[in-house]
């Protein structure tokens, strides 16, 4: 279970999150919607442990443990996964090499032995096939020259291999055509499990047609302005965010 309590965050003196509260239960898929510049990506970065954000107040608890005291590596090993809006390119590092390094790092952190190469290859190939990731892509340097859709699929592939407790999808739908969107959504849906929760950050209802959320939160001006069921997303689709930005202002 992920609990964000009274989170205040600023960057370079500018307040971004202003007393945000949020709970995502085990097995729950929570969507966060909201206009641009309202702090949705900041929330995902702060949970994942990116530096340069000043946490002034509040807690982020993963199964009761305050992860704000951990660095990004420790959080990842504790089960936090962030699917990046703009996945980074790592020139010269074959995708397969990167996946192996990540998987082994997490295995070591959990006190498990590293995977044997044949076992690892098999695992990656299976997961790749499900996501329509071509085998030759695994040999190419990570994300270098990948299309937008390929990059997003690669994020989901990593999530499938790392099996996190909480998967945060930051605008995963941006830049995807409808076919790619469906593949990515199917990948996420296949990972839904009783002990895994998701935080799906998006502008548009479109993604939520494919990844059906249990809860929808509307974020405005650094906090959760309204919480509801899936119908809230449909309502926003019609009326837009004006009411919230107005209400908050």
């Amino acid at each position: 279970m992920l609990e964000v309590k009274n989170l205040h965050v600023s960057v370079g003196g500018r307040k971004i999150l202003d007393g945000l509260n949020l709970t995502v239960k085990d097995g729950e898929v929570a969507a966060i919607m909201g206009p641009n510049g309202t702090g949705k990506s900041t929330l995902s970065y702060v949970i994942a442990g990116r530096e340069d954000y000043e946490v002034e107040e509040g807690e982020v608890l993963l199964d009761g443990v305050n992860i704000l005291e951990m660095d990004a590596t420790e959080r990842a090993n504790a089960g936090v996964f962030l699917a990046f809006q703009y996945p980074l390119e790592i020139p010269g590092v074959a995708t397969m090499t990167f996946l192996k390094a990540a998987l082994n790092a997490q295995a070591r952190a959990k006190g498990q032995g590293e995977l044997q190469t044949p076992e690892f290859m098999k695992k990656v190939r299976e997961a790749a096939q499900k996501l329509g990731v071509a085998q030759d892509m695994l040999k190419r340097p990570l994300n270098v020259g990948f299309s937008g859709g390929e990059k997003k699929r690669m994020e989901i592939l990593q999530m499938a291999l790392l099996q996190p407790k909480i998967g945060i999808l930051d605008e995963t739908d941006s830049g995807l055509d409808i076919d790619a969107l469906r593949i990515v959504a199917d990948g996420v849906n296949a990972l839904r499990a009783q002990d895994r929760s998701f935080l799906v950050i998006t502008h548009y209802q479109r993604l939520l047609d494919y990844i059906k959320p249990d809860t929808v939160h509307v974020m405005a001006r650094g906090k959760i302005a309204r919480t509801g069921g899936p119908e809230l997303a449909l309502e926003l689709e019609k009326s837009g965010y004006a009411a919230f930005t107005g209400e908050a202002a």
Binding site: T73, F81, L88, V93, A105, L162
Partner: protein, 489 residues
């Protein structure tokens, strides 16, 4: 800033620990008196029982050296070296020239074991058959053991200490020594010519493909001792050899001087592949101690269609001043230079290559990857030139620099000279920084910052690592990770 301080502290702690070859071997040694004069040169020559012509060659070099000045054009800074305050010869006392490995001081064998270099052939034979490497081990000023000589001799390959070659193959030494790097080439090469004590000699007869990798490991052990080794490799027509040198030294507070000369000669259709993994002690975090590495390496593609390829992984030394070069004399000859130079702490690197195109349709390729971290400075200095008769000369140069942190520097100084209108020279250069975003992306997947940095750097240097012989590529990859420990802030 607390974060900066923490980083500095970590670098301090790690730099010293990370140099795992920093031990000193307690071996009684015999040294020449401190300082340099004609008597010392004669002393060294006498120690080696050298013939008159060799002694004269050295004395000639010494006299010329006296008239020369230390070069100052490199982007490196260090206090003036007192050449009279050094020992020019040190030999383990027990070494009266071993006949077999059984006569080698066990303490020395243990030293090489610590370095991970097995000198006992049976041990190598008992291990992986595929990774057999013939080794010449040079400890301070003398060669202590050369392995697999009998087997190499069957193929006609000569692989022995150069001090021995002077006696056993004087005609070859006379013909080739100083023929690529002349006695008067430069200050350090001239000094080396006067006082060089040992090194490896390799001769591959016509048409022979050397049946195994040849390798020399250099170790400086004694305090205040300069190491001046001399390597001479001749690949006769149509032959092939792959050679690797590795270097380590103990951790000392004072600087140690290493001024080597390497000469390669490739005849018609011959190929020499020369790889270096240089891991001399780099000095501590404040820049105290470490090796001054002033080395002259040059290959002569003397015959048509000959090829010389330099690959280097440079992680050690306080100061590196080194430009492995190729003279492309034969028509259609080819020179290659692949380099990874990593500097951390207060290391200073000024390194690169020269490709001198003299023959027709000669080609050369330079791939240089410089990585600077800590407060180090890393300069690529390269020269590509085409003589007016070098019709159809081609060069491709790619120089990439990667910066880690905010206090280091990367510089690229290419000199390009073409006297032939048909020459085509291409030069590409990039400078990049490991971005915070890349590091965050990797750590978000569970890698530590150091693992992430090593992974990104290994990606950056991949083109060059692929050029190294298999056995050493893995070693080099580990070495890169160790050199960069504590460089992330």
């Amino acid at each position: 800033m607390a974060a900066v301080k923490e980083t500095v502290d970590r670098v301090k702690a790690i730099d010293v620990d990370a140099y795992k070859y920093g031990f000193v071997t307690d071996i009684e040694s015999e040294k020449a008196p401190k300082g340099l004069n004609e008597d010392i040169v004669r002393f060294i020559s006498a120690k080696k029982n050298e013939p008159e012509w060799m002694t004269e060659w050295r004395l000639d070099a010494y006299r010329r050296w006296l008239t020369m000045d230390e070069p100052t054009w490199a982007r490196v800074e260090y206090p003036k070296i007192d050449f009279q305050d050094l020992y020019y010869y040190a030999a383990p006392k027990s070494m009266a020239g071993p006949k077999s490995l059984d006569e080698v001081d066990p303490e020395l064998l243990r030293t090489y074991e610590k370095l991970g270099i097995p000198l006992r052939e049976q041990e190598i034979l008992a291990g992986v058959q595929n990774s057999r490497v013939a080794v010449d081990a040079v400890f301070d000023s003398v060669s202590v053991a050369t392995t697999f000589r009998a087997e190499l001799a069957k193929a006609g390959v000569i692989f022995c200490p150069i001090s021995e070659a002077v006696h056993s193959h004087p005609e070859l030494v006379k013909k080739y020594l100083g023929s690529v790097v002349p006695v008067t080439d430069n200050y350090y090469a001239t000094l080396n010519s006067a006082v060089f004590s040992d090194g490896s000699f390799v001769y591959i007869p016509p048409g022979v493909r050397c049946p195994m990798e040849l390798s020399t490991y250099f170790r400086i052990n004694e305090r205040n001792t300069g190491q001046f080794e001399r390597t001479l490799i001749i690949a006769d027509a149509g032959s092939y050899v792959s050679y690797l040198e590795g270097c380590t030294a103990p951790q000392r507070d004072e600087n140690q001087l290493h001024a080597a000369v390497v000469e390669l000669i490739a005849h018609e259709d011959a190929e020499i592949k020369y790889s270096t993994v240089q891991n001399w002690f780099p000095g501590d975090a404040e820049g105290k101690g470490g090796i001054y590495n002033f080395v002259t390496k040059r290959g002569d593609c003397r015959g048509d269609r000959s090829k010389i390829s330099w690959t280097q992984v440079e992680t050690g030394s306080a100061i590196t001043w080194k430009y492995p070069s190729c003279i492309l004399r034969g028509d259609e000859s080819r020179g290659e230079f692949y380099s990874i130079a990593i500097s951390n702490g207060r290391q200073q690197v000024d390194s690169g290559t020269k490709m001198i195109h003299l023959g027709k349709n000669t080609t050369s390729r330079i791939i240089s990857k410089g990585i600077s971290a800590g407060r180090s400075n890393n300069t690529y200095r390269g020269q590509v030139s085409a003589h007016r008769k070098a019709t159809g000369a081609r060069n491709f140069t790619n120089c990439d620099s990667l910066l880690i942190g905010h206090d280091c520097g990367a510089h690229t100084v290419p000199y390009i000279e073409s006297k032939n209108a048909s020459a085509v020279f291409e030069h590409e250069a990039t400078t990049s920084k490991i971005s915070e975003d890349q590091l965050f992306y990797c750590t978000q997947r569970g890698l530590s910052e150091e693992e992430a940095t090593a992974l990104i750097v290994n990606g950056f240097v991949r083109d060059v690592l692929q050029q190294l012989p298999m056995e050493f590529a893995v070693e080099a990859q580990k070495l890169i990770a160790i050199s960069l420990e504590g460089s992330v802030g």
